[in-house]
Subunit: 219 residues, 2 copies
C-alpha cells in the first residue's frame, strides 16, 4: 500500500525532527526515533539510508516550503542590500527551530559527501538558490558589467552560505550578532558591487571572473 508506506515514512521523519529539536542531533538515537515512531529500529533504515539522510530529507522538504516564501521576499524592486537581507531573513526564520540541526549538514565540506552543500546530491537545490540571487540582483536595478554578470550570483550565494554558517554557530542571544553582520555586510556588498562598474575595476573584474571559472570548474 503506497499511502500507508508514505505515512510511516512521514511518522519516522516527524519523530526524528521532534527529537532533534528537543534534544539535539547527536543526543538523539536511531532507537529512540524508531520507538517514538512506533516501529522497530530497522524500519527507520528501510526508509532512510542513515541518520544523516533524515536531515537531508528535512532539507529537501525545506526547499519546497521555502520556494513560495522566497518568491514573496523577492517581490518588488529593492535595493540590493535589502533584497539580500530579505532573502536571508526568510531562510533564517524558517530554519530557526532547527538551527543547530543544520550544523549536521554544515559539518560536511567534502563535496563527495551526500550531505555536503557543495556536492552533487544537493546541486539542484544549490542551482535554484543561485538563480534567486540573480533575480535579487536584477530587481536591484544595479548595472553589472558583462564580464562579471555570469559569476556574481554565485559569489553572492557563497557570501550567503558564509552568513548562514556564522548564524548556525552564533551563540549571541537571538543570534543578534548575525543580524548585525547581515546588515553591515549587506551594505558593503552593495557598495562593492556598485564599485565594480568603475573602469578602474576592469582588471579586477576580469581576474575575479577568471578565478570563478577555476572554482566552479566541473563543480
Amino acid at each position: 500500500m503506497n499511502a500507508k508506506s508514505a505515512e510511516t515514512r512521514a511518522r519516522i521523519l516527524d519523530a526524528a525532527m521532534e527529537l532533534f529539536r528537543r534534544q539535539g542531533f547527536e543526543e538523539t538515537t536511531m532507537r529512540e526515533i524508531a520507538a517514538e515512531a512506533g516501529v522497530a529500529t530497522g524500519a527507520a533504515y528501510y526508509y532512510f539510508d542513515s541518520k544523516d539522510a533524515i536531515v537531508l530529507a528535512f532539507y529537501d522538504q525545506s526547499q519546497q516550503d521555502l520556494e513560495p516564501l522566497i518568491e514573496q521576499a523577492l517581490a518588488g524592486a529593492k535595493r540590493l542590500k535589502e533584497g539580500l537581507g530579505a532573502l536571508l531573513e526568510v531562510k533564517l526564520q524558517y530554519f530557526e527551530p532547527n538551527r543547530r540541526l543544520l550544523g549536521a549538514l554544515a559539518a560536511h565540506a567534502d563535496p563527495d559527501h551526500p550531505l555536503s552543500p557543495f556536492g552533487e546530491r544537493t546541486r539542484p537545490i544549490r542551482e535554484r538558490d543561485v538563480a534567486s540571487f540573480a533575480r535579487v540582483l536584477e530587481s536591484s536595478g544595479i548595472r553589472v558589467a558583462r564580464d562579471l554578470e555570469p559569476h556574481l550570483p554565485r559569489i553572492l550565494w557563497m557570501y550567503q552560505m558564509g552568513l548562514i554558517l556564522f548564524w548556525i554557530y552564533d551563540r549571541s542571544p537571538a543570534q543578534a550578532r548575525t543580524r548585525t553582520l547581515v546588515a553591515k555586510s549587506g551594505a558593503i556588498v552593495e557598495r562593492l558591487v556598485k564599485l565594480t562598474a568603475f573602469p578602474l575595476m576592469r582588471p579586477v573584474r576580469r581576474m575575479v571572473a577568471d578565478l570563478m571559472d577555476t572554482v566552479t570548474e566541473e563543480l
Copy 2:
C-alpha cells in the same frame, strides 16, 4: 617514569599517523592503532581523549615543525602575492602526506568543538598564524590605511583558511586547481589591498573594519 610514558604516547601517535596515512582516518580503528603501538585499546585513551584528539596532537606538532619553515618563507621583502603564496606553499607541502586527514579537522566548524580552527583550544595557533600575515603585509611594503591595518591580517588569514579548505577536497591531479587558485586569487588580493588606499575606498574601509569588529567580538 616520565620518559617511558612520553615514549608510549609517541608510539601511539606514530602508529595512528601511519595508519591514517595508509588507510585514512575513518577507516582506521582505535583498536588497530593500539595494536600497532603494542598496547591495549584503553591505553590509547589514557594518552588521548579521543580519536579526534590524536589529530589535534598532530596539528599541535605541525605548528612547531612549521615555525622555522614559515620563518624562512617570510625572509626577504616580497610582493604581497608572493609572500602569501610562499606562506601557503610551505603549509601545503608540509601537510601533503596527510592532506585528507585535515578533513577531520575541517569538519568541525563549531567554535565550541575542541578541534575547530575557530575554537578556544586552537586560539594560540590561530593568533600566531594571523601574526605571520601581518609580517607578510609589512614586508610587502604596501601602505595600508590606518583604519584597516588592525584587521587586514585576520582577513588574509581567513582567505588562507578558505584556500586550505579548497585544497583538502581538491580532487584534481596534484591539486593543480588549488595551485591555480592560489596564483589567481593572490593577484586579486594584492590588487584589492592596494585599491583600499584610494580615498574613494574610505567608506568601504570603515565598513569593513566595523564588520570585522562584529565578527571577532569575543571570539
